[in-house]
Assembly symmetry: C2
Homo-oligomer: 362 residues x 2
């Protein structure tokens, strides 16, 4: 049976990438060693991380004054590192259109209890159960603020920001965890971008940070592992980095490049998403929570039937048909199809076929 | 040519483990998915992490009131997390017998600039260029202190603590990064143990923390990703963990168990180390910095000739003979043989053979 993995992350990886990694798993570049066994201070790993960085820079058109970091700890650690590095003695705005945006804000609030920074909710759509992107007017933004934090794609709720809002000259910090390399953005409009790798980049355990270096103030007393400047100075090698994950990320970057880059990925992703949304819009048997089509995620598509027990049956029968991990997040319920870059179009076709059959039977 | 990898970490992994991981790389447990593609909330990964935890508990005889965490960020992140979680409003003692112990202390000092905690150097051997373990008397220890921090094995300097010092009832925090599972310790004598995985456990990107839960005070405002209690409550799944690294660690734990456990590993490691030390003690051509035999590391063995340019030649010619990554840390110079659990005895035999040949030629 063909397996399609709709998991929200860790998620499906490109087969070519997995096959290449498997093939050289015991003997990388004729070294007699696995990538996992390479010292991070040696020539071979140095080439791996440099290549990964350069390819990412090319894919996202990242100018030289933005630095790229390969870190650990996931986006959740960035919820702390971002305000700690950027917002001391400043205001930091958050627009909250989903649970992860809310968590980002809450971590800034925690820091503000002991340090001098002021997290402010600029807008939120919690009252609408996060079924839309929270809007704001740039007049609300103090131009002296550190940043406006946006979650670019709400993994759980299925909404996404495609047009960046006006922020009165204040840098945007973007959590791109679930749509980096899947949707094209102009990096020049961001002060900082971060993303966990486990959706569109590679295995869990690598976090990408892209930051405009001039935004980083000098802070001597920051904990080393939380200090962007120190980590930049050491080219992501202040301590031992997650070497194998970075290697896998580099292979995925090569794969994206070979397919035509981010423009092409977005095109393919839109085609996949349209297949599913068109069907969802054509039936009343299923509902999808994000009504504004311009705000719909092309990476994570939640939907429900009108009956919880029917949702459970759907997930169970889909699983038995090889359509795996379609259960929605507990806060939204129902189903969620996560169809990142590496998720094949055929899987979406299969899902729609299954949904039609299920509709007919119930 | 046979390759022997003497890297200090990331380091050599057991061939059986690598082969098994390679074999099931594309299709784990007949799931049609790679371990890297498994959702961390699913049954398959849940079994992987539970098995890894249980096997580690068994290998190290860890009682139930100690909790085990699989984290990210390396030991360097623990340098911050340990004082942040344990030492607020308290004294925290550090004995410093190497560069990593010094870094651990320095991170506590950084925190103390903004938070109420008091890091104290209990003893240090910097004046002796870290060629011995710094000693102290238990009378120096305030029984109300949070902990006494010890680096169990000084990876760079090649010294190790085998007999735990008396601490006046204050819990020991042990950085076991370079000798966990390689040397047997009584976990009951520790309040907390931490270790980066990339030496004796698995690929870089996983950090093990073992902590006596009753030592953790309730701190509501700690950043989530730095909060042991929150991470324990979520069984290392507060956010997405480094899933593939945890899987590899579990395989290594199985391998250690299959060989007879930590007792047997220590026995084998001592045999390997004796091969090298016996030769080092029998010649004046090479020197090893740790003179006190009871303090010599069985994991990391630094040595030099009496001439820097000869050292460079040694490293170069050894490399050409398949003896890789023997260059010592820049702070010590010369050579260093890291011979962790997975490093084969034959490699040490080869190294000694090469050393004898090199001695004869120079």
């Amino acid at each position: 049976m063909m397996i399609y993995n709709f998991a929200a992350g860790p998620a499906v990886l490109p087969q070519e990438v997995l096959r290449k990694a498997q093939k050289e798993f015991l003997n990388y570049a004729n070294s007699g060693m696995s990538v996992m066994e390479l010292t991070h201070r040696g020539k071979l790993f140095s080439e791996i991380i440099t290549h990964a960085e350069e390819t990412l820079r090319e894919l996202m058109n990242i100018p030289d004054h933005y630095k790229i970091l390969f870190l650990q700890g996931g986006a959740s650690t960035q919820f702390t590192m971002v305000p700690l590095n950027l917002a001391l003695e400043k205001k930091a705005y958050y627009t909250i259109s989903g649970l992860f945006g809310q968590k980002a804000y809450e971590e800034a609030v925690k820091l503000s209890k002991k340090l001098d920074l002021e997290p402010i909710i600029l807008s939120e759509s919690k009252g609408d159960h996060f079924t839309k992107i929270a809007q704001f007017d740039k007049c609300q933004v103090d131009p002296e603020a550190a940043y406006v934090h946006l979650t670019m794609n709400n993994t759980i709720e299925g909404s996404s920001i495609y047009e960046l809002p006006e922020t009165n000259g204040v840098p945007i910090v973007g959590d791109m965890s679930s749509n980096i390399l899947a949707v094209k953005y102009d990096i020049n409009k961001f002060g900082l971008v971060y993303a966990g790798a486990q959706k569109n980049i590679g295995p869990a355990g690598v976090t990408i940070v892209i930051v405009r270096e001039d935004l980083l103030p000098h802070q001597e007393m920051l904990s080393s592992m939380l200090d962007y400047q120190l980590l930049i100075k050491n080219h992501s090698l202040y301590n031992t980095p997650p070497t194998f994950g970075i290697y896998m990320a580099g292979l995925v970057f090569d794969w994206v490049k070979s397919l035509g880059g981010v423009d092409e990925m977005e095109k393919l992703n839109r085609e996949k998403a349209v297949l599913l949304y068109d069907y969802l819009d054509s039936t009343t048997f299923y509902q999808t929570p994000i009504k504004n089509k311009a705000e719909r995620s092309i990476c994570n598509i939640p939907f429900t039937t009108s009956d919880e027990s029917l949702d459970q049956l759907f997930v169970k029968q889909a699983d038995e048909s090889g359509l795996k991990n379609l259960k929605g997040h507990r806060s939204v319920g129902g189903m969620r199809a996560s169809i990142y870059n590496a998720f094949p179009r055929d899987g979406v076709v299969e899902l729609v076929r299954f949904m039609k059959k299920f509709e007919k039977e119930h």
